[in-house]
Symmetry: D3
Subunit: 158 residues, 6 copies
């Protein structure tokens, strides 16, 4: 599968999740692991849409909590593919916490995850190139390569 | 709060949910209760966006399973307000099951839920009128009233 | 399988569920989706007992929240088959919230769900007729047909 | 609260739970911890009904798995108070696995749990005596005292 | 498999679990069923390590709550095999609640569970003998036999 | 709180988690989000032990899946503090998948997470310095600073 695809063909524009009390940690803010799971599940859908294949998470390259989310807020998750390599893709995820009453929202999490596409036998398989169109998409496309170069340089024994 | 709002101001366009094995019933199709919960959580966000208030589910007026969803598929949930009355709103929900590899999807569930908006003391409070714009929105606006009339006529002892 | 069965042969008389904090929505009342799931799971057992077959949820025809349930209360769920047609059955569900300390309880939810019985290949299969005996069972038997007639008349494009 | 109560005044006759794939352990039989939780939640309701107070689990005195339960089966949980002491009660729990299609069931778990009743300040408070009526209730009443005597004799450093 | 193994070869020294709000019962202490599940899951690992086989829970012989655990505390679970018989093993479990800020902890639960080892066809299979070494291990080895003798003597109709 | 503490004073040596079917993704390997949650919960305990304060996740700096984990395996999670700065700490996490029958295990995940310590009013508060002792601890201490420098250099608009 060698065709090129734009990020908009596979992006998730608005995955919503209303925070309930059972999503809270002992500080009564949203449990970090819940947000991580939400980012992973949303990014996975983008990876499968872009590649046309089953995908598995290879890495969370970074995931930053900018602000805590609280009970009663609505998490709004957006995700898009930034760049692909032979069989892997970087997916960028943006999470906002919305007060659905007032409509106000703030950025709470930014994350970059890498997924690998698998063929029917579970082996890595090639994925379409990403064809960035907008200025933002082009910047993300360039930055994804820098992040990847840095990751490869950083591989170190645990 | 008496202003009128269009359905597009509060709709959820694409809530996505990747089906995992732990979402399956003993027939290995998606557990009905999971889909109901997903419809309820998504519709709740629309109700809170439209009303600007905390809302609670008053009724599931109908929820039809047109086709089973399966592991590996992605549920795509869309929800919009159809009509409002003094303190209540009917929210329509449409669920599709997408094969994220091929991009194909099929309609799996249609549901209508009624929510009530509450003020700070937990009492019903008035909500904005719905101002339908498109032809589809206008049809839904009319049908919502018929459904409501029927519901009121049907109230019977359990 | 053509024999007729009375509702009492398949009913669930007292499914109990103690409400815990992780069952609550952001208003600290029981999450609507939890109650829906509880109704679905209980009604499913009735449908399988009546039909002698694997069953799947076809529809929630209505589910009304009469009063919110709260943490610490016990949900008492009763379910019985009201009527059957060729391969489908209407199950009525009644949920009460009990204060287990005082023994007081109040009706919180009424629901009607439709299930379809499936044979080994997953195709709809015929189910026993319902043979109502008590006055209440006879009333429910009649009302179930009216609800079905109305549903069939109401089928409309989403 | 010194009045005496019969076991039938607080018993749970039929708590039902349809086993789903996400309740299974790696051998695809029902996860032991799920059954334990189900016994605990059901017995708790009996303890609160008998005592008229908030109760907490003090001990699982024994819980025996006689046979594994499997996906697709329905767990039928019955629980009743066997005997009470100053502020504690022994609750007996019986779990059967029913094939809801054929109506066959087999006994899968027997358990005895002890609960303590608490007053508003969280201190142990007295509970009604148990007044056994049937022959079975009388046998359970006697056996409960033997189990308690044995437990008190067995208390040993971990 | 006839070789003898010391408890230290299969023990779990420190399984940790941070208590979150969704683990609480309606008294805002840790739900008994959660602790039971945690004991069961930890003991299972010890049983599989000791036997080299798939194991299933046969019984909770006793599980005593000495003190409630609360939100924000960390549960520290230790488990070791006390003694084995032909195809079964008694696993002892000790749970402490740690205040991770101050480092203080207190003993909250003691439990004894019996597991059975299964071969590939799901039939009970023989397990290595336990070779106690320390004084504590020897005491537990002796007490396990007494508990077993008592259990066998106690088997009674539910 | 200015005293220095060695990593061994707060490390978690063996957090165990038996993988069950409901932890699997649609490829029947362990759901990435579950592993992330397990890393987060384990690292949180280390952060609270090291700092003596409530901590919240600030970032997942990297989390690499080296190999998938499967149903029936046991996840063994180890975590230790690598370095601290004014109010933040880097925690390293190592996850292995053990076949508890054979005792074999393989490294499946490496992760670095940053936590911030909070005082009673929820404001960042100072934490003890990390005093590395072993050669490995010293290497991790140095690498943690490099990772931090890189992170600070990389902060870019989403």
């Amino acid at each position: 599968m060698t065709k090129r695809k734009a990020p908009a063909e596979s992006s998730v524009e608005e995955n919503v999740y209303k925070v309930f009390p059972n999503d809270l940690n002992s500080e009564y803010t949203v449990f970090g692991g819940l947000v991580m799971g939400l980012c992973d599940r949303t990014a996975l859908i983008v990876a499968e849409r872009h590649s046309g294949h089953t995908c598995v998470t290879a890495a969370v390259d970074s995931l930053n909590f900018l602000s805590p989310a609280r009970a009663g807020e609505t998490l709004i998750v957006k995700a898009a593919v930034n760049r692909s390599w032979r069989s892997s893709m970087e997916i960028g995820v943006h999470v906002a916490a919305e007060n659905s009453h007032s409509g106000e929202s703030r950025h709470v999490v930014s994350a970059y995850l890498t997924f690998v596409a698998l063929d029917e036998r579970g082996k890595p398989t090639s994925v379409p190139e990403v064809m960035p169109r907008s200025k933002t998409e082009k910047r993300r496309f360039e930055e994804a390569q820098s992040r990847r170069d840095q990751r490869l340089a950083n591989r170190s024994p645990g």
